[in-house]
Symmetry: C2
Subunit: 144 residues, 2 copies
DNA sequence: TATGAAGTTGATATTCATTATCATGATGAA
DNA sequence: TTCATCATGATAATGAATATCAACTTCATA
């Protein structure tokens, strides 16, 4: 999925909800897409401020919420209590390896784990919605 | 592991840290063990208050922190933003199936998933510390 | 069992992330 | 251009968790 696709998804979502375009929303989406990282709301705020200093903090949160609603963003509640937001490509689910020393994120996917998770849902009669798999450890460069 | 074992672990931990016994700490630990559930700090506070009304909220948090430090308690940061605390038996790790409608927790363990997780740590050169696997869905009774 | 240093407590204030409020400004269909 | 509707930034408010502090326990020692 290209950035253009993502922007179109956002536009369509706004349209179906009778919401309006705004420079702020586009500016935030652009930086969110460009960063390609797992950002905190504050980190995104700093990024956006560089180009559009007038944008307020509340609008960052408001826009992140919209992006989550239309499936472009995933909110990550981490064990250290922080919340991070990442661009989500519906077609490419992934889980995370996280270094507890330097905070590095590695995106991982094990199809077999995914399959076994579905089996667990099934075994207990649950209708699957989503899952969170975070693997916390110490990365190679921190473990010297 | 029996409750007696858990209490001894706690006592030993206090001793090694030059911390002291107190009625409040014992009262909180007792209710924590007896509940056998995934409690919020507030839910535990209510439980403890029934027997020991003088206990303050801060002491609940302080004691939960100690219990986590000595390995008797696991803190669960959930996707809905709530934090729950559960009794942790070091010898019996488990993950969670969580109903997003009624909040039901089911404890699950798939040895194969556990094994594949270790392989992921290994493949990326991470030293494993812990993981969080939460499976969110709708349970049988909520899905009628 | 009395003493006192060190740890603990409850109440309260404080912090921090997030959300709600509201007057003002922007959007876009007609 | 008009105007109903929505969006915005600033600010206040919320809620969970932590820090502060004077008064109270605990417990090793005398
Ligand atoms: Zn996954
Ligand atoms: Zn990611
Ligand atoms: Zn597990
Ligand atoms: Zn559990």
């Amino acid at each position: 999925m290209t950035n253009r696709d993502a922007i179109e998804i956002f536009h369509n979502y706004l349209a179906t909800k009778n919401l309006k375009h705004s420079e702020q929303r586009m500016s935030i989406l652009q930086d969110f897409l460009d960063s390609g990282k797992h950002l905190t709301a504050h980190e995104l705020f700093v990024l956006v401020q560089k180009k559009t200093p007038s944008v307020g903090f509340a609008t960052i949160y408001r826009t992140l919420k919209l992006l989550c609603e239309c499936g472009l963003c995933r909110e990550l509640k981490l064990d250290d209590g922080t919340t991070r937001y990442e661009y989500q490509d519906e077609t490419q689910h992934h889980d995370h390896l996280i270094c507890t020393k330097c905070g590095k994120f590695v995106e991982v996917l094990d199809p077999e784990i995914e399959r076994l998770q579905d089996k667990l849902f099934d075994a207990y009669g649950f209708l699957p919605q989503r899952h969170r798999l975070d693997l916390y450890g110490i990365c190679k460069s921190c473990n010297k």
